[in-house]
Symmetry: C2
Subunit: 413 residues, 2 copies
């Protein structure tokens, strides 16, 4: 057995999270050459938790099919957004009552960024500076930038894209809100949430963190670091299913002043009063909009069961061990210079994915998938490998690097 | 057999849509006294179509569980919003390519109303009148009013609530957009879509119709009547399931100028180009926002199979026959003056529900439900009975009226 293979065996044997793999539906023996497929795309779509199909069947057949509208109260449909929000809360370091689930990430970015601008303006009052700038990470996932641009246009602000490293210097009296990604979707770089949050606050502005690529993969510490608002999706490291509803965090002390641009009937203080005047509900409920999407939402709720007895700290430790080991294997197997790692080496700057740049990345990923190593390709030249510690092991990781080396040896440039 | 019971028997025997009932999961023998529950709340949550559970199971177990990310292309997940939009299109009188499914009704109202204001302003140009008013039906379902207020605030307009009958007189040079309900959620009144649309256009403004209580119950004729924008939910007469995604219609000729306030990456001309600059997709796709909610969306797609071979005209004819017959039975069974009908008698002004006012409506509805007649209660004094012609029959209707009379006789005021 090769050195990396032996190491993988030892690491798997010592892995305290190895048993969690049984909570997921994963391939057995259908991954082409070499047995099981290795699924390294949980940072795009998390694998199916085994608890989900039965739960969804119950929701469809019994709750909808038999109880019908009674389920809104008897099965807790109506309160699902805040109940499931409270299930996500400990995973991102938030106390209960600050997260609601619902809508897409993009829609939540809109609520959060407009909300942040309004918070900044209401905090300063008439005598304060004219805050008319929204700062956004220049390397952000595109939808955040597009939505922030719309939020800027609709609040009389200008949008200023700034490379993340230059953000502290870009902040000032004009800054109303700052929208940042905790982990960069492309490179896997982890940004310094505590320091950047403090810098935004020092400028008198409000920060919105996008947790899509960090929640469920590493500790976030929303409460601890005084984050104002945050959004995230639930279909990556939270395994909620394709297009599962996203969530919105509004820090408890800001909720009374949170002024949503999407004040739907579900965020009304008295939704069934059917009153013509809007009066926002107290607390996190203020972030709700329309009728919650029950099928997807309750699938997510079942998916969150995999976190019972698991700490984010343990997940983070394994995630770093997996990505360290993957880089070790890539170095051992792949000729130097054939790929360049975009993901930072220091643990403090690394998310839960490894991004490798190579000129023929599109073709390479196609061949990898054919051989049962599933990552994804990001235009124009990036191979992304996501490491989801609840179901990826060290032997999977060694195999992925080995197959990558084989494919790279065949293709050449 | 009583006269209404005999009539019900004849009407059911002659009902060309009677066979459609087998497409739905309905109660048998568990409705308390008197056998099957009569479900007259399909205007709140449509019954479960039998095709849905199997389809959802396939989506969860095979598409998500086995194929995972490959389903985005191989199973058509990515194109679901426009594909399912095209399935809804004939039900609302729209040619293909004008409807996308996704987000809640409230979120779509926001897109549509802001979009309408921008259309009005771009049509007039700088030399045109300063259109700064959004007119909304004063009796609207509350969320429409709340969201229209937000749209007004964010586009520099004022919101003007106007009783529907006075809307033509309220329109003018200042009117940018008008948001109207096709059928009033409370009273069941059907508004005159062709005439009101023409009146809005005569004022140089743009109209948004909310079809929540009409789509799937009666012909809408969006294309025929030149409607600009429309939104609707899919969980009432379209039976898509609790909180199923809503839809947005943008008339083909307006799509190039439709300027969404929620320009997410899914509405980008090249979503996987990951470009920092937003460039809207052509056509209906421009109404998309974030990642589509696949579980709920594909449940809806399966639910739409019940429309195969069914025309909206046939549904409308049966709907009117059902509501006529219900009123006939109520008159036969219920002492005069005990309830007052809020729903207009003329067919041209009636949706697919009957709303009866009585002072003790909350208590009455509770007792009705206990006896297997399921309608709903709307604060403070309205009993709502929704008639869904695909699965409600005339014997159901007679029984509902009969049990209502029994309950009313017991309770008294």
């Amino acid at each position: 057995m090769s050195e990396p293979k032996l190491r993988a065996k030892e690491l798997d044997a010592a892995d305290g999270l190895a048993a969690q793999r049984a909570e997921f539906v994963l391939d057995e023996g259908d991954g082409g050459s070499g047995g099981e497929a290795v699924y390294l795309d949980g940072n795009s779509l998390g694998a199916l938790p085994v608890a989900v199909p039965g739960r969804v069947e119950d929701v469809v057949r019994r709750q909808w099919g038999e109880l019908r509208i009674r389920s809104w109260t008897e099965e807790g449909w109506w309160t699902a957004p805040e109940r499931i929000g409270d299930r996500i809360a400990p995973l991102v370091g938030a106390a209960a009552g600050q997260i609601v689930v619902g809508d897409s990430t993009s829609v939540n970015v809109f609520k959060a960024v407009v909300g942040a601008v309004r918070l900044a303006r209401s905090a300063d009052g008439a005598a304060g500076p004219a805050r008319d700038e929204i700062v956004v990470d220049a390397t952000t996932f595109p939808t955040d930038g597009y939505i922030a641009e719309s939020a800027a246009r609709m609040t009389g602000c200008t949008l200023r894209p700034v490379p993340p490293s230059e953000i502290p210097d870009a902040l000032g009296d004009r800054t109303a809100a700052v929208l940042l990604n905790h982990v960069d979707y492309r490179t896997g770089r982890l940004h310094d949430l505590p320091a950047l949050t403090a810098a935004v606050h020092a400028a008198g502005a409000y920060v919105v963190w996008d947790l899509c690529h960090s929640a469920g993969a590493l500790p976030v510490g929303l409460d601890e670091h005084g984050v104002d608002l945050a959004v995230g999706c639930t279909y990556k490291y939270l395994n909620g299913g394709p297009g599962a509803p996203a969530y919105l965090y509004v820090r408890a002390e800001l909720q009374d002043r949170f002024d949503s641009p999407l004040p739907g009937w579900n965020s009304h203080a008295e939704p069934f009063g059917m009153r013509p005047e809007y009066a926002p509900a107290p607390g996190a409920l203020r972030g709700r909009v329309g009728t919650p999407d029950i099928l997807s939402m309750l699938a997510l709720e079942a998916a969150l069961d995999v976190w019972d007895g698991v700490t984010v700290e343990a997940v983070r430790a394994k995630s770093l061990a997996l990505t360290d080991f993957f880089l070790e294997c890539v170095e051992a197997y792949v000729p130097e210079g054939r790929v360049a790692c975009l993901t930072p080496r220091p643990h403090g700057e690394r998310g839960s994915q490894i991004a490798l740049r190579c000129p023929d990345a599109g073709d390479v990923m196609k061949r990898l998938i054919e051989r049962g190593v599933v990552g994804d390709f990001r235009h124009p030249d990036v191979l992304r490998f996501g490491f989801t510690p609840l179901y990826v092991g060290f032997a999977d990781t060694e195999r992925a690097a080995r197959v990558l080396a084989e494919v790279l040896a065949e293709t050449g440039v």
